[in-house]
């Protein structure tokens, strides 16, 4: 089984997307090797942006969708066939700007999807505008004088929306990233993974992250209040410590709607005849 297609890779040298791609590949192949998963059960849904090219590069089922809409697509896939494992790779522009509402609803419903946000805190493919997680003062092409708003905190928002698995990882901590992604995919229900992704060209925060990130230890992932407190440590603009790891994990029912199935045709005909009889 090869996990990488022969499509030409066009990410910039040093781009954090490579890390996500390798981590996902390893997690998929690992799940096949040690959990008896079938390679064909994985479905990757991507948005539009640099991150989204991962759909071309990974040799798994994929739905290369449109900007902002990974989660409804993934939800439809799960409704159609709950046996598939749906992984949605979105950008921060994608998930936090264009399509933010879907994130709150996927979390609310606890749909069994893993949402990975390649958060480079910039619109990469459209050449460098600010996004909802860009730090205050960021000079993007639509805000050359610097962003005035404060960023929002996606980890906090996911927690407030009811996600049952909430984590943060960083593309320069590959082992940790891999581990977090594996846990996220194994989690039943909605998993949200915010990945701090280096954009080498438009928002290279390697220095900042190098100085500020740390891995959570001794944190109780069942404690929502503790999770919220950890989430609020860093506000995406200041120089506070940046926690990496799983903030929160819990179980909740995740069947909002019945999965699609098929009643045999003859049975349907009978039911329809019954309805028509009633209406005479």
């Amino acid at each position: 089984m090869t996990w990488i297609t022969d499509a030409q890779n066009t990410w910039c040298p040093g781009c954090g997307n490579f890390a996500v791609q390798h981590a996902l590949k390893d997690v998929f192949s690992g799940l096949v090797a040690d959990e008896g998963r079938r390679p064909e059960e994985f479905v990757l849904v991507s948005g539009i942006g640099c991150h989204a090219k991962i759909a071309d590069y990974l040799a798994v089922n994929s739905f290369y969708a449109i900007h902002g809409r990974t989660l409804p697509v993934a939800t439809g896939i799960k409704l159609a066939n709950p046996d598939l494992t749906a992984v949605a790779c979105a950008g921060d522009g994608d998930a936090y700007a264009e399509g933010l509402g879907h994130l709150v609803f996927a979390a609310k419903r606890n749909t069994d999807i893993t949402a990975i946000v390649h958060d480079n805190r910039v619109y990469g493919l459209t050449t460098g505008q600010y996004t909802p997680t860009s730090y205050t003062g960021f000079k993007g092409r639509s805000t050359p004088a610097g962003v005035k708003e404060r960023p929002f905190n996606p980890v906090e928002l996911a927690l407030a929306s009811g996600a049952t698995f909430v984590a943060r990882a960083y593309t320069r901590r590959l082992d940790h990233l891999r581990e977090v992604l594996r846990r996220a995919i194994l989690h039943q229900g909605f998993s949200f993974v915010e990945v701090l992704q280096i954009c080498a060209t438009y928002n290279n925060l390697t220095g900042t992250y190098h100085d500020q990130v740390y891995e959570l230890e001794g944190h109780d992932t069942a404690d929502l209040t503790a999770a919220l407190a950890r989430a609020r440590e860093w506000d995406y603009s200041d120089d506070a410590p940046i926690a990496l790891g799983v903030f929160y994990e819990s179980e909740r029912d995740h069947e909002t709607w019945p999965a699609m199935g098929r009643v045999p045709d003859h049975r349907r005909q009978e039911v329809i005849r019954g309805v028509l009889e009633e209406r005479r």
Binding site: T5, A7, R38, E40, E41, V43, V45, I48, K53, A55, D56, A59, V60, N61, S62, F63, Y64, A65, I66, R69, P72, V73, A74, T75, G76, I77, K78, L79, A80, N81, D83, L84, G101, H102, F105, W257, P258, A259, M260, G261, R262, V263, D265, R267, R268, Q269, V271, I272, V275, L276, E277, E278, R279, R280
Partner: protein, 551 residues
């Protein structure tokens, strides 16, 4: 007289819609054919609602100005509609709320009180009186009411009985043709829903929006029986994208909405065109622009449906005129969408969708299976296939990788930008459109009614077919109606129009959208009769307008 027209009116919350549908079923129960128009403003309680039911020996599909009976729950009903009564017509009314009228008066508040029935059963008092007036045997009334009344059947029956007893026989129903079977009665939206289910629908996804919502409600109530999941997500963008996710994963799905919701679906609609994903959109029209007049009807979205979404891609669009066509074409569009892997639109409107009619059964469709992958070699989602159609495999299939893509892509589904592939894939999509047009030659894509040899032809589409046909019958005209609007059924249309001198488009819009379409396809249109006040044409009305333009 071989027909009868009954109006029942009152306030929102007084059960006018139900009362109207009960009248339809009573008339149907006597072996007649019926059509109901239901008129209500956008509010929940109060205001003025009314239903007009036309019963006849032959199936009616539209209404006249003239009425035979007015059943009035309030004064407003009399005030508004009494003037429409034709010779021999009468009023049946609630003496507690209506003053200064001749006719059959019933003290409904007292009756309801005496029977210990809920206030909402007042309408049944009028219906009972109507039945007696029309000489409907009590057994028929009882049978129909037991089936048609959703709850508190006994109370409803008692109140109806009181009305029945209080009235006099006066205006018997027309006599049905011998052996005329009792037909079921459905709304247009129910026919759409049942047509979808019969054609194998596995999921229906929608966000509520008048006049499409009753499809959602009907299917939600019966999803277990039908085996069709019913999904109501956060908005129409999600509706469309969930549908495409489900279609990708191998299920037959449809969505339903009206114009404003469809706007939000257009981006996903175009995605479906590029990724070659099937989906059926039920687009139920109401007068726009924007929120417009949400509980009324119009035909203002034809050109929008034909070109919605950026770029070019095949999209079957059909506009049924009757229950039977609605049922047939929902199925046909599912077949076409899945065969040609592209999104389809069923264009309906409020008058068809929320109107009720006796149902004659839908014809069988030609078989049109989707093209499945035969398991041979490496799977490529967009591999060349017959007529530009690539064989389908579902994700999850062993040994198969299914990649779909919103970018222009190669046969494997991988993004490309080179000239040759971009052009090749565009042609592949165009090829599907051509093949679809050929397949549609085997369908009743254009319908001719009236006198097929008449020199003057009316052009119409969708729910105005009924009134056009009746007017044509009266005036000796031909009616040519494309049911399929895309890909345009050129040959069938030309054949239907052969020998026509004057061509007059009749549409419920301002711009003459079908007229524009037909001209773009190279045909002449000489005049246009438009209506854009949200209400359907009366027959008298249309005939007057047609004479004005020289028909």
């Amino acid at each position: 007289m071989d027909e009868i027209a009954v109006l029942i009116g009152g306030k929102a919350g007084e059960g006018i819609n139900i009362a109207g549908s009960v009248v339809v079923r009573l008339i149907a129960g006597c072996g007649l054919r019926a059509a109901m128009y239901y008129d209500y403003p956008s509010l929940i309680k109060g205001g003025h609602n009314f239903a007009v039911i036309r019963g006849a020996v032959k199936q009616p599909y539209c209404h006249r100005e003239g009425l035979d009976l007015v059943l009035a729950l309030d004064q407003e009903t009399v005030r508004r509609h009494q003037g429409r009564l034709r010779a021999g017509g009468g009023v049946i009314y609630d003496t507690g709320r209506v003053r200064g009228v001749e006719g059959t008066g019933l003290p409904l508040d007292e009756i309801v009180k005496e029977e210990g029935a809920p206030a909402v059963t007042r309408n049944m008092g009028l219906i009972g009186a109507f039945c007696k007036t029309c000489a409907i045997p009590w057994e028929t009334v009882e049978t129909v009411l037991r089936r048609a009344v959703p709850k508190a059947v006994e109370a409803n029956l008692q109140v109806a009985k009181r009305g029945y007893e209080a009235a006099e026989m006066g205006r018997p129903l027309p006599t049905p043709t011998a052996g005329g079977a009792v037909l079921p009665a459905l709304t247009g939206n129910e026919a759409v829903a049942l047509g979808l289910v019969e054609a194998g629908l596995e999921g229906y996804i929608a966000y509520p929006m008048t006049p499409s919502s009753s499809i959602l409600h009907f299917l939600a109530a019966r999803q277990e029986e039908f085996g069709t999941s019913v999904v109501h997500p956060e908005n129409e963008i999600s509706v469309m994208l969930m549908a495409l996710g489900a279609a990708y994963a191998g299920r037959r799905v449809a969505v339903g909405t009206s114009g404003g919701g469809f706007c939000l679906m257009t981006e996903g609609f175009s995605l479906a065109g590029m990724a070659e994903l099937p989906v059926v959109v039920v687009l139920a029209q109401r007068p726009g622009p924007s929120t417009g007049v949400p509980t009324y009807s119009g035909q203002g979205d034809l050109l929008f449906a034909l070109s919605a979404g950026q770029g070019e891609f095949p999209r079957p669009v059909a506009a049924p005129a009757t229950l039977e066509e609605a049922w047939y074409w929902t199925g046909a569009l599912l077949d076409l969408a899945w065969r040609f892997q592209t999104p389809a639109v069923l264009l309906t409107d409020k008058n068809l969708g929320e109107g009720m009619y006796t149902f004659h059964g839908a014809p069988r469709r030609p078989p049109l299976p989707s093209v499945r992958w035969d398991g041979d070699g490496d799977y490529r989602r967009y591999a060349p296939g017959p007529d530009g159609v690539s064989p389908l495999a579902d994700p999850g299939t062993t040994g198969v990788i299914v990649k779909v893509n919103s970018y222009t892509h190669d046969e494997r589904g991988i993004t490309v930008e080179d000239q040759a592939t971009v052009a090749r894939m565009a042609k592949k999509r165009k090829e599907k459109e051509k093949a679809m047009a050929e397949v549609l030659m085997g369908y009743p894509s254009v319908v001719t009614t009236g006198d097929p040899a008449a020199k003057t032809a009316l052009l119409c589409w969708g729910s105005t077919a009924g009134v056009c046909t009746e007017a044509a019958r009266d005036l000796g005209l031909r009616v040519v109606r494309p049911v399929v609007l895309s890909p345009f059924p050129t040959e069938q249309f030309s054949a239907a129009l052969k020998g026509a001198g004057q061509v007059i488009a009749v549409e419920e819009n301002l711009d003459g959208q079908l007229a524009r379409l037909v001209r773009a396809e190279g045909h002449r249109v000489d005049a246009m009769v438009g209506k854009y006040d949200g209400r359907p044409f009366f027959i008298e009305d249309l005939e007057r307008r047609l004479k004005e333009v020289g028909a």
